[in-house]
Structures are given as C-alpha cells and as structure tokens.
C-alpha cells in the first residue's frame, strides 16, 4: 500500500487556497440531501457538526456523555494559540508554523501545520463573535500570554478555563443548529462499529447506553472526532470516559493507525497519592510562566521546602536550558523531572514529585496578580492536596496528557477508508512527536470549523452513493458482530473487575512505553499485554445486563480495545529506533541526555494496518519532506 497525503503542489503559503479552489462544491439546494455522521461533540466534533449544519447538510451528532457540553475538551485550561501578533512581539503565521514543526521534533507534515497556523487567526475571531469571554485589557482589546515552549505571546485565554469556554461556544453553535433542525443530537450513545460498504464508510452501529438498544445509522460520510487514547495508561489527565473504541473499530475496518507510540507526558500534574487513585489532575502549564521548578540538590532531603536555603536548591530547568528555562517544551520538562526523581531527589511522600514555586513571582508582582492569573488552579490544587500554594510550593509530576498518534489522514483529513474523516486529537496529523502547549484547542477548532466543511463537500461532490439501508447484508453482519462482543463480555462472569485489568494494563504501558522506552522493555511489555488480554477474556466479570445503564459493560468494551491498542503502541515504539519528542528510546540519546533523532532512517509517519486477529499489523510509511523548516536538533539551551 502507498499513502498519498494529497498535499497541494506549489508554495506552502498558497497550498490551502489552491486546495480549496480545486475542490468540487455541493450545490446549496443539494446539501440537505446528504446525510453526515459526526461522532464526538468536543471542539472538533461540536465545531464540525455546527458548521456542517449551518451549510445545510443533514447531520447526526453522537456523544456517549449525557450532553455534548461534557466532552473532554472542556477540561483544557491554559489557552489557545493564534498567530495574531497583537502584542507586536515578532509573531507571524510562519513563526507559529515553524515552532510547531520544530516542537513536534520534525515528525509532522509541513503542509498540514502551515494550514493550521493560517487558520489559527480565524478561530479567535469566530470564538469572539460567539461570545467566548476571552481575557481583555482595560482598553477592551484581547490579552495574550506566552505559554509552554513559546518565546512570543500568542496564547489567548479565558481565565484557567479556556477549553470550557471554547467548548461552550461550539456547543451553543451546535444547539443553535439542533434548533434549526439541521443537526440531530444523539447523546448517551456510543459508536461501537463502522459500516463500510463497497469500500466507502457509510455509517455506524451505536449502542444507546440507557436502554442497551443497538441502532444503525447510514450516511454519505462519517466523521470521527473522538479524541485521544491516553486512558490506555489508566492513570492520565483524560476524562474517565475518554476511549479509543471508535478509532479502534475504524482501524479494524481498514483505516490505518499512525504513530501510535507518540504520546505526550505533561510535566505539571498533581502527583499520585494512593492506590485508589482514579485519574491525575493537570495543573495548567501556564503556571510555568511564573512558577520556578526545583528540587533539593541533596538526595533524600527530607526538609520542608522553606527550610532549604537558596543555594541548596537545584533549579534544574533554568540551569540546563538558560534561554528557555522553565518554559521548555513538555517532553523536555517531563523527562528532566523523571531524571531528577530517578536520582533520588524527588519530593513528597512518594519521592515522585518536584516543586513548582511561586515565592519569587508573588514577591515580584504581588499575590493579587498571581490570584488573578491562576486563582482557580491554586484553589483546585488546595482542594485536592490540602496545601496552600500561595505559601507552600506546589508538588508536580508528569502524567499522560495527550496522544499525538491517531488515525492516519491525508491533507483533506480523510482516512484510508474513503468517506471516513478524522478530526482533532483522534487524527495524527499536526503535532508530530510532541505537541506544543495551547495547540490542541487550535487544532480541534481548525479541523472542525474551517477544514472539514470544505473537504467533506469535495468528497460528496465527487462520489456516488448507492442507496443503503439497515437490511443490507454488510450492515447486518456488523450489527451481529457488535451484539456478539457485548454478549461475550456479559457472559464471562469471571473473578476480576474491569478496573483491575485496566490498572494492570496501564501500569505495563506506563512502565515500558511511557516516558522512557527500550527495545527489550517493549518486548517484555508485548508479552505481558498479550497474557493479560488472554486472562481478561476468560476472567473478567461484568455484572448486570445489557438492557439498561451498565457502566461496567461500557468500560469493559473500551478496555478490550485498549488491550489491542497497547500492543500496537509497543510494536510501533519498538520499530522506531530513534528518540523524538515524546518517544524517548534510552538507546538513542545524545551524551547529555537529549533525544537523538535519526532523520536518515525514521523521517516518516508509521501507519499501521490491521491484518486480522493474532497477525502482525502491516507497516506503511509516509515519508516526510521538510522543504521549509530544516530538521535540526532541537535546542532550548
């Protein structure tokens, strides 16, 4: 198989204009005759469903939560990037593009990233018009701040709740279309399989989570905006319901899965406090703008932080990276935190933590200003830890936060299955091996508001759609397969809970395919994952029945898919004999411990194809070309 990314020819600045002009359009009167399915209602899905509804398409939007407003985009805190250059500090579309390609450690597709940077400016405008209450200056203009890994102030924000406000903007736009009758919103309903007929994605099979009823939905195209797969680690900053099931079922129906091992560990999360821990809480990385990260110089130093004098503290990021200091990209900050903790200099009961200290910032700008900037984050920290971060330094530790890998898509955001489009975190395309802060919101909204409305139209205008209904034999066989899996999970009645399997799986993936990886460790992990998966299918217990709300059953289906994904992540990580971004192979590092890429051999996207149960997946490579930003070793010193 060869992969055609369909990147427009000619200069990168004009690529998106050219692509849009080359697209076929759907006559306005014909739009309502086309039905579209959008799975997921976060920034990408909500924005897509709303925008497609506005164009007049007949849209059905699905989410597993009780309301589209719950999607996990809501939890994003820090902000959204845009190349507006309002602060007059040297920002430009090209710089945002450059920073994103470099920050992604040269494993992203240039053309997609350039388009993202171009569109970024329109996103802010759209959101402002919707009534998103971005932070403002006294004069009424929009405020910006600098954010993890950037030397310009290009981040727009709404207190520490930017994701919430942007999502509510998209949600309100979506509800407006529900009112207009162009979008049917179907909440508490989970996509469990994809229907592919004659090589085209033509619909989904979904399960109503309240009644257990399976339903078939046929459409001319299916758009997945189902988020990332960080919950494969069990402990992550993702919402408890975030899962890979929709993407995974698409993978098993023929869509390629790209770079699954590219996962992001966020440096600033509240450390784990006990075995019961169900998830990890992120503290926005905007805190690194004012907080200073340090650990004691001495191993096993048990003194309380205020008892450790200045010259016995190691501000290790400022020491190692004088030009970026505490603002180095996430992968670098995380790896360094792990390194100092591995040396035995970690803080807190578990020794897995570093200090994030606001003492100097409070002395400089005053507690009031700090409260204005981060008040809700400080309150959240205090609620969880019972410590006052205005007085005692925060303790933080890295945690899984985002997954750069996802379903492979071309420049049109179409997967390898015609008619299946993938948006937002669920696709792989824009962040390479590491995502910069405040870029996830940007990508989700870019894909949803400004890319898919064009590209899906081109697909609809250039393809024919045979009439299909639920009685089609292929539809029937997909429904039967879904029913069989559900029945199977309910019938095992073993001894172990779904969560106990998920925890154990998460520990394996974290230990061997987390912040640092080795070929041997990955081999071990694959063996362990397979053995545990086998036990799962023989010994899991799912109480209750399939015809009412059954949260254990929902979890069981998702964990079953995580098992298969976990193995693919390890296979991908083992195959990539280099370190890049969030993928750090211990065998491949520079003498001073930085990630060492191998552009000669690994400058490609690894796209994996499913070949049936028990078979090794097939690897197809999409070579990456860098015509604008020339690969160099990232240096933040």
């Amino acid at each position: 198989m060869t992969l055609d990314a369909k990147i427009p020819s000619g200069p990168i600045e004009l690529a998106w204009d050219k692509a849009r002009f080359d697209m076929k359009l759907v006559n306005p009167a014909n739009k309502r005759k086309h039905s579209l399915i959008v799975v997921g209602s976060g920034l990408a899905g909500g924005a897509a469903a709303a925008s497609l509804g506005e164009l007049g398409y007949n849209v059905k939007c699905f989410c597993f939560q009780d309301s589209p407003r719950r999607a996990h985009s809501i939890a994003a805190q820090g902000g959204i990037n845009a190349a507006k250059n309002y602060p007059n500090d040297g920002e430009s579309i090209y710089r945002l593009f450059y920073d994103t390609v470099k920050g992604g450690d040269f494993r992203a597709r240039e053309a997609n990233v350039y388009r993202l940077a171009q569109i970024s400016v329109h996103i802010i405008d759209q959101c402002v018009a919707q009534g998103v209450p971005f932070a403002r200056e006294y004069g009424g203009t929009l405020t910006n701040r600098s954010f993890g890994g950037a030397q310009v102030s290009r981040t727009f924000y709404a207190r520490g709740q930017t994701g919430q406000q942007l999502l509510l903007g998209a949600y309100q736009a979506l509800e407006r279309q529900v009112r207009a009758g162009t979008v049917t919103m179907i909440p508490r309903t989970e996509m469990l399989d994809l229907i592919v007929i004659d090589g085209q994605a033509r619909g989904i099979v979904a399960r109503n989570l309240v009644t257990g009823e399976l339903s078939v939905h046929i459409a001319d195209a299916v758009i997945l905006a189902t988020g990332g797969y960080g919950n494969v680690y069990y402990l992550s900053t993702n919402a408890k319901g975030s899962n890979v099931t929709a993407s995974w079922r698409a993978y098993k129906r023929g869509a390629l899965f790209a770079n699954p091992c590219f996962t992001q560990i966020h440096p600033t999360c509240i450390p784990v406090s006990g075995d019961y821990q169900s998830k990890l809480t992120l503290m926005s990385e905007s805190l690194r703008n004012d907080g200073r990260i340090w650990v004691p110089k001495m191993k096993g130093d048990q003194r309380s932080p205020d008892q450790i004098p200045e010259d016995e503290r190691d501000y290790y990021l400022e020491r190692r990276y004088p030009s970026f200091g505490n603002l180095v990209p996430r992968d670098v900050a995380s790896r360094n935190a792990k390194a100092v903790c591995d040396e035995g200099r970690g803080v807190g009961k578990s020794g897995l933590g570093v200090y994030l200290d606001f003492f100097d910032a409070i002395a400089r700008v005053g507690e009031k200003t700090i409260r204005e900037r981060y008040g809700n984050l400080f309150d959240m920290y205090q609620r969880i830890t019972d410590e006052d971060p205005y007085k005692v330094p925060m303790r933080i530790y890295p945690a899984i936060h985002y997954t750069m890998g996802g379903l492979w898509v071309d420049y049109q955001l179409q997967s390898t299955i015609p008619g299946l489009f993938v948006l937002g975190e669920a696709n792989f395309s824009d962040h390479g091996a590491n995502r910069l802060g405040a870029s996830a919101l940007m990508q989700g909204l870019s894909d949803g508001y400004f890319v898919i409305p064009y590209t899906v139209g081109n697909y609809l205008a250039t393809n024919k759609f045979k009439k299909v209904d639920a009685s089609h034999s292929e539809v029937q066989s997909v429904v039967a397969a879904v029913q069989q899996t559900t029945d199977k999970l309910l019938s095992i009645r073993g001894k172990r809970t779904v969560d106990s399997f998920h925890r154990e799986l998460g520990k394996i993936v974290w230990d061997y395919c987390g912040m640092a990886r080795t070929a041997q460790g990955l081999e071990t992990a694959i063996g362990k994952i397979r053995a545990l998966r086998e036990e799962f299918w023989q010994n899991v217990t799912v109480p209750g029945s399939g015809d009412d709300l059954n949260q254990s059953l929902e979890k069981a289906g998702r964990v079953a898919d995580f098992f298969e994904l976990a193995e693919l992540m390890c296979i991908d990580a083992r195959e990539r004999n280099e370190s890049c971004g969030g993928h750090f192979r211990e065998e491949y590092q520079t003498p001073d411990g930085e990630a060492q890429r191998d552009d000669e051999r690994y400058s490609y996207v690894a796209a994996w194809g499913y070949r049936g149960p028990g078979n090794t997946p097939e690897l197809t490579k999409e070579p990456l070309e860098f015509n604008y930003v020339h690969p160099s070793q990232r240096s933040y010193k």
């Binding site: 009780d66 719950r70 919707q130 009534g131 919430q164 736009a173 809970t497």
Partner: protein, 266 residues
C-alpha cells in the same frame, strides 16, 4: 477511616428505588468522594453485585457530569466543590453519608444516582447562543470589551451545567442556570442584538420544562460549584421584562420535552 454510605438504588426509571446501606473500610482522607464510590464498586463487582451507577467524567470539577446529594446538600459540605473534587478528609471516622440523586421532575431518574438533564440542553437550544455562523466573524479586536465587562461575563459563563442549583432549590427552579447563560451573553456587546429574543425564548422553554418558579431563596448559589452569583437571575428577569414590553410576533414555539431514550428517533 470507616464510613457508612446509605445510597439510593434504583434499577431503571420504571422501578421503585430504595436506600441501601454499605460500609466502606479503609477510606483514605486523600480520596475523592467518587474514588470512595470506586472502592465500594470494586467490592460490589467482586461479589457479583451491580455497582452503584453515578455520573462522572473529567473528575476535575469542570465537565459538570457528576453530582448528587450528600446528607441533603448538593455536592456535599464544601463550598465551590463538585463531588469529584470533594476529598474525604472533610468527613469523620464512623460517619454515615446519605447519597441520593438530584431530585426534580425536570430531571427524570435513569439509574441509582444518575438522572436525565436534557432539559438543560433544551434551554440552551431554545436561544442560549449568539447567532453567528462559521466564517462571518470580524477581527477579534474590532469588538472591544472592557476588562470589567469581560470578567463579569466570565463569572456567569463559568456555569458547568451540573444541575446542583435545581437540586438544591425547594422549587426545583432552573433560574440560576438559565440566568447564567442569559447574563453571560447579554452582558457582552456581541450578545446585544439578540438580547430580547434570547430572554423570551429561554424563559419560555424553562417554563415549559418541569422546573418550578424562582422565589429568591438563594440555595442555588449557595451550592453552586462555580459560585454563580444570584445577580444573574436579576439580569434574566430584567431582560425578560424589557423584552416583554416590546411586541413580538415571530417567537418560536417551545421544544417539547423528550423523556424516551432511543437513538432511532429522527
């Protein structure tokens, strides 16, 4: 520490519910209320019993999924805290906690602690937005919004739609929720053109749902995890009154409340 959890169990909305008491040993003070329920659920599952169904997702206090009454108080005893962020250190060894779902006619029961809050979505659907389609927006800085105004709008916009305000209200009114959205949008210049229509439509929808009327008791703001101020209700009333003085003949009918769950509806 050891706690007794007296929890409302109800299999479906058709079944009759009842309280069942469970003892949870080894409750760690650092745990959240939901983690405490996780621990109980693991035990129940291992015994082959159905775990307690409760709604949750982000567990960071922002998605608005979680929420139930703890000893008669929505989201429990801590101010400005959802149950996912409520740590067990606020309770004492040996204490009994009574957990029950939001109780309101407009929030029909689904199972155990889970209720149907689609009435909130319908209120937003009826007019809780600014009508601007993708692509129509002018440059962000052409609309100037003073810092105080932006802050005030943000205070109202912080609502997470959890439903605690309704659950705490003796009338089961949705005035704080509806008022928060009306205030957020009508304070901002972008929201002014639709101010009247929005208030009329949203209030009409709120009245069409099975919520009660607001009698200015203030329990809602007291339990609100985002501390939405009571003033938003005054804003709603003012906007509604203002709009009602102007004749309107193009108002749309309210949305009929749906109570069934089926993905096969079109």
């Amino acid at each position: 520490m050891k706690l007794t959890l007296k929890i409302w169990r109800q299999k479906t909305h058709k079944d009759k519910g009842a309280f069942v008491s469970y003892t949870v040993d080894h409750v760690d003070p650092e745990m959240s209320m939901l983690e405490c329920l996780d621990v109980l659920n693991e035990t129940l599952t291992e015994r082959g019993e159905e775990p307690v169904a409760f709604e949750h997702d982000c567990r960071e206090g922002i998605c608005g999924s979680c929420g139930f009454m703890i000893n008669g108080v929505a989201h429990g005893p801590e101010r400005a805290t959802t149950v996912c962020q409520l740590t067990m250190r606020h309770f004492n060894d040996g204490q009994e906690l009574v957990l029950e779902p939001w109780r309101a006619k407009a929030f029909p029961a689904i199972k155990d602690l889970v209720v149907d809050r689609r009435s909130f979505d319908r209120i937003i659907e009826s007019g809780g937005y600014i009508s601007v389609s993708t692509g129509q927006a002018p440059d962000g800085n052409t609309i100037l919004v003073g810092k105080e105004t932006a802050d005030q709008a943000m205070d109202a916009a912080a609502c997470i739609g959890c439903g605690a305000c309704v659950a705490a209200c003796p009338n089961a009114a949705a005035a704080l929720f509806t008022g928060a959205k009306i205030a957020h949008l009508s304070i901002l210049p972008q929201g002014k053109p639709e101010r009247d229509r929005r208030a009329l439509h949203m209030v009409a929808q709120m009245n069409a749902e099975l919520f009660g009327n607001c009698t200015n008791i203030g329990e809602c703001t007291g339990v609100c995890p985002k501390e939405i101020p009571l003033e938003v209700i005054a804003t709603m009333n003012r906007d509604y009154l203002r709009a009602s003085w102007k004749k309107r003949e193009d108002l749309e009918a309210t949305i009929p409340p749906a109570t069934e769950w089926s993905a096969n509806r079109t």
